[in-house]
């Protein structure tokens, strides 16, 4: 920020400049770690860093205080260079209690900074965390730079006189921790102070307490000697423009709103709440002044069916869900396919199977969205690659849906949906409009043929209300051109192949697959979806290390880009990293008969860059 110099406080001690810093704040679900992390993220972004975040919380609303099950964490990397992931190893870990400490310490780099609230390490706390010994003095933390801070006590002191009881005073602990971290990385307080006064404007005593705690934390760092050193991460070089932070689900919602406007449509969003997709519904429901209609259905089937009805009515109809909800939509998606009406089905994937790991991320629904319907039922499938990319991806999904008159599936995941990154704000005028044609009333005597085809095999989107275009559609096999029910054997095969061809035709309208790096060499890393950042960074580093490796990241999973065969041909080996047991790998092996190898992680967590670099090193060997 331009006025950074003035406001930032002159530090008193040694300062070390870093290219990037990865910090994780961990505590109880109730400790406000998500808020703390978000503040640190925004402040860092405003300071010109590139940032990437990874919130990680339990699926219980509030698991019992102090237990391992209740630990909630927020990781952020802020950097002076482009980054694409929230970072692998932690440079600093802030732990508010023993459970949080022991469940996260293994990610802290040796020599890394560990800040703990030592007031939270009483025997009862240790017991809650199933600890027999106190990690603070059993030597297990020897290889870290441990900084014990009596946060509870200091926070209570700080807010003294405001007449808050201990219960409320202790709620400000996270602001104390925040202040400390801000000092450690030379961050300004003003963004957070502004946020604090806006958010708690109606509760002045709370706002004041938070502010005091924040400053107390900062001052603690400044005045005490416990920190021999503090750090600075200079601004990153960005393309010029206006920037903001955006979360994946938020970008998805905004992209939907923009797509509607760009195509001259009203947005109908029908959904049933499910983690981690619910925030799209929440976000959209806030923008009624944009003419957005959100419909919380009684279940996912109803949501999908309402979307079909809204699409028939001529709206931009969209639903969003996660794995178990998608499983319920498969029958109705088949109807949407048979009706050849445009709609978008968003799947923010989570850990499966069944209820699985609701709050964890995974990429294991690719085959489900491709094949989870009865009969031969091909649908286009796209995937987002980063939080901000959700905005562009969903606009593209809608563009394809209306151009080809088909439901389109867009895959996101919990990591993208809840993650955040800086987003270069576009000017709405610069976004490409999405043309849509609806047939008008026919000329006298002219019959309307609902299953007539255009150049890409799309059928007309005739809207109820248009005189003379009355027609009936349904899920039984249709006669070519007329759309009448037809059980004729040859017609059935013709229509099955026609529907498949229509989806294949998309390959002619989408960009050719780009390769990041040389067009040929030892190893191609082929990835899709939320693993983009880790794969991209890993490949870059290996290239810098002189390895013969390139990266191709698929946005289009069905159909594949027209040139994918050639792309694969260019390389001796193909490595496909996925957060599943090898789903894209299966498709590639079948289609291109290449012996692609998989790097598969199924832990409910994203890849770390090192994992992929290692696989690359083995792969090129």
């Amino acid at each position: 920020m331009s006025n950074a110099a003035e406001t930032s406080v002159k530090p008193s001690r040694a300062i070390q400049e870093l290219r990037s810093a990865t910090v994780r704040l961990v505590g109880d679900s109730g400790d406000g770690m998500q808020l703390t992390g978000t503040q640190l993220t925004n402040t860092s972004a405003l300071a010109g860093n590139d940032v990437a975040t990874f919130p990680d919380y339990p699926s219980e609303i509030r698991a019992p205080r102090g237990t391992r099950a209740g630990v909630s964490g927020f990781q952020v990397q802020f950097a002076a260079t482009d980054i694409f992931t929230p970072g692998d190893r932690l440079n600093a870990l802030i732990a508010m209690n023993p459970a949080a400490l022991v469940t996260n310490i293994h990610d802290l780099e040796p020599g890394g900074v560990l800040i703990v609230n030592e007031d939270a390490f009483a025997p009862k706390d240790l017991k809650l965390a199933n600890l027999d010994t106190n990690p603070l003095d059993d030597g297990s933390l020897a290889k870290y730079r441990v900084i014990k801070v009596p946060m509870t006590m200091l926070t209570r002191k700080a807010v003294e006189g405001l007449g808050l009881g201990h219960k409320f005073a202790d709620r400000c602990k996270n602001f104390f921790a925040m202040g400390l971290v801000y000092w450690l990385y030379g961050r300004e307080l003003d963004t957070t102070l502004r946020f604090n006064s806006e958010k708690f404007g109606d509760k002045p005593e709370v706002a004041q307490a938070n502010e005091r705690a924040l400053r107390a934390g900062w001052n603690f760092g400044e005045t005490t000697e416990v920190f021999g050193i503090s750090y600075r991460v200079p601004p990153a070089k960005f393309h010029g423009g206006l920037y903001r932070n955006i979360m994946g689900n938020q970008a998805m919602a905004w992209g939907l709103m923009a797509a509607a406007k760009l195509s001259g449509k009203e947005l109908f969003f029908g959904a049933y709440p499910i983690t981690p997709a619910s925030d799209i519904l929440h976000e959209l429901s806030r923008y009624k002044n944009f003419g957005i209609r959100t419909f919380q259905a009684e279940d996912e089937i109803a949501a999908m069916c309402a979307v079909i009805g809204a699409s028939f009515a001529g709206a931009m109809a969209v639903t969003a869900t996660s794995g178990p909800g998608l499983a319920l939509k498969t029958e109705s998606m088949g109807l949407g396919l048979m009706l050849e009406l445009p709609m978008v089905v968003i799947n923010v994937q989570r850990g499966g199977p069944s209820t699985g790991l609701p709050t964890k991320t995974e990429q294991a629904d690719l085959l489900q969205v491709l094949f989870g319907r009865n009969g031969e039922a091909p649908l286009p499938v796209l995937a987002c690659r980063s939080p901000a990319d959700c905005f562009d991806a969903v606009i593209e999904a809608w563009r394809i849906a209306v151009r080809f008159m088909t439901p389109v599936v867009l895959l996101s995941d919990g990591y993208l949906g809840n993650g955040a990154e800086p987003w270069r704000v576009p000017r709405f005028e610069d976004l490409a409009p999405i043309p849509i044609h609806h047939p008008g009333p026919p000329r006298e005597g002219e019959a309307f043929l609902p299953y007539e085809r255009d150049d890409v095999l799309a059928r007309p989107w005739a809207l109820p209300g248009t005189p003379g275009l009355q027609h009936r559609i349904g899920g039984l096999e249709k006669q070519h051109i007329t759309g009448n029910v037809c059980y004729e054997p040859d017609n059935h095969e013709f229509m099955v192949r026609l529907r498949a061809q229509k989806v294949e035709n998309i390959a002619h309208e989408i960009p050719l697959q780009e390769v990041d790096g040389p067009q040929s060499g030892d190893l191609l890393v082929l990835s899709w979806g939320g693993t983009y950042g880790a794969c991209h960074t890993a490949v870059k580093r290996c290239q810098e290390a002189g390895l013969s490796v390139a990266h191709a990241h698929l946005r289009y999973l069905n159909p594949f880009p027209a040139n994918l065969a050639e792309v694969l041909d260019g390389f001796r080996r193909v490595l496909i990293p996925e957060l599943n047991a090898g789903q894209l790998r299966m498709l590639i092996r079948d289609r291109y008969l290449v012996d692609a190898q998989g790097l598969n992680k199924i832990k409910g967590r994203p890849f770390v860059i090192e994992e992929i670099m290692q696989a690359i090193q083995e792969g090129v060997a």
């Binding site: 903001r244 905004w254 005189p467 349904g474």
Partner: protein
């Protein structure tokens, strides 16, 4: 287009080009005829009308009317219609469903559609059997009935469609009979006129798999004693010579003979606009097998907020309060920074 100037249409103008494929003698034919008649009598052009159905013999209905239509999937018509009605409030939306489609697999959508009171007309063709799949029992099949899937007789207590609808806050509930053409026409017209979800149960004879299920209510000699036509504000009188009535004894209805010291004023009077649906519910419990006439006509018709209308109101309100959406404003809201 001709229809644009709202010419007076006839029932036959609503016939589609598809040949009707129900079994000869199926009760669905009579319903189709009445629906077309009612459509012709209202001043709404064909293109502003949409029929949505699920799967079943009854659900073939949309193919046979020259309006917009969708033959959906099994049980989901009310959900499809909800999205349609919310997205296009200017259309008249009809749902055609069966006892299996609407109360079997589709019961939940029916329930939620009704409680949201979204503006549409739901016609449930109750033939007390699964017709299209060739004769399994349905949620309205009486206990003990032998069907393909119950060779020793059905053992599920049947649901009563009207009771179910009332149980989930219906604002318009009616019942009629395929064989009673004039009455059906009246009920369908009332349903079409009602704003909000209109739910109509139609007793329908499946001549192939459940012939005579409603014989008691259609038999020309019996029907006056087995069927009671509800009229708003009128006492509950029935019988060939209108010499019988329903009287309330506490909360228990009883059949009484008029005359012999009982006058019409002693009878229960129908009030379709009652604030609470207790009367409507009570009437839905009158069953032939318990020695009561079964009520047909409009059980309940009240005005209540509608989801579709309220949603649009919220949108207008939001636009008044916050102005129409401005994307550039939205994008640059909150914390932003500029890179030179």
């Amino acid at each position: 287009m001709a229809t644009a100037e709202l010419p007076t249409l006839t029932a036959s103008d609503f016939a589609s080009d598809q040949d009707v494929r129900w079994c000869p003698g199926c009760g669905d034919y009579a319903i189709l005829a009445q629906v077309k008649k009612v459509l012709a009598e209202q001043a709404i052009p064909r293109e502003k009308i949409v029929f949505i159905s699920g799967i079943g013999c009854s659900s073939r209905f949309p193919y046979y009317v020259d309006t917009y239509g969708m033959h959906g999937i099994h049980g989901r018509a009310p959900a499809i219609a909800s999205g349609l009605a919310i997205a296009a409030p200017d259309l008249q939306v009809w749902v055609v469903t069966g006892d299996g489609d609407g109360l079997g697999i589709g019961g939940n959508h029916l329930m939620h559609c009704i409680r949201r009171n979204i503006d549409m007309n739901i016609l449930l063709f109750n033939n007390r059997i699964y017709g299209l799949t060739k004769g399994q029992y349905s949620p309205t099949t009486p206990l003990g009935k032998v069907t393909k899937s119950t060779p020793m007789g059905a053992i599920d207590n049947p649901l009563h469609p009207v009771s179910v609808a009332i149980g989930c806050e219906a604002t318009f509930v009616a019942r009629t009979i395929d064989a009673n053409i004039k009455h059906m026409g009246m009920v369908l017209a009332r349903a079409a006129a009602h704003k909000g979800t209109s739910f109509v149960e139609i007793y329908q004879n499946c001549i192939v798999f459940n012939d005579g299920a409603f014989g008691y209510a259609t038999d020309r000699d019996q029907k006056f004693d087995t069927v009671l036509e509800l009229e708003h504000g009128k006492p509950l009188v029935f019988g060939k010579n209108r010499d019988k009535g329903i009287r309330l004894n506490g909360l228990d209805p009883e059949v009484v003979e008029l005359g012999k010291g009982v006058s019409e004023d002693d009878l229960l009077f129908h009030d379709e606009r009652a604030r609470e649906p207790c009367l409507a519910y009570l009437l839905s419990r009158l069953r032939y097998e318990d020695g009561f006439p079964e009520a047909i006509g409009v059980f309940r018709a009240v005005e209540a907020p509608r989801y579709d209308e309220e949603l649009n109101r919220q949108i207008e309100l939001a636009q008044e309060k916050r102005g129409p959406g401005d994307f550039n404003k939205l994008f640059s809201s909150g914390d932003t920074w500029t890179v030179p």
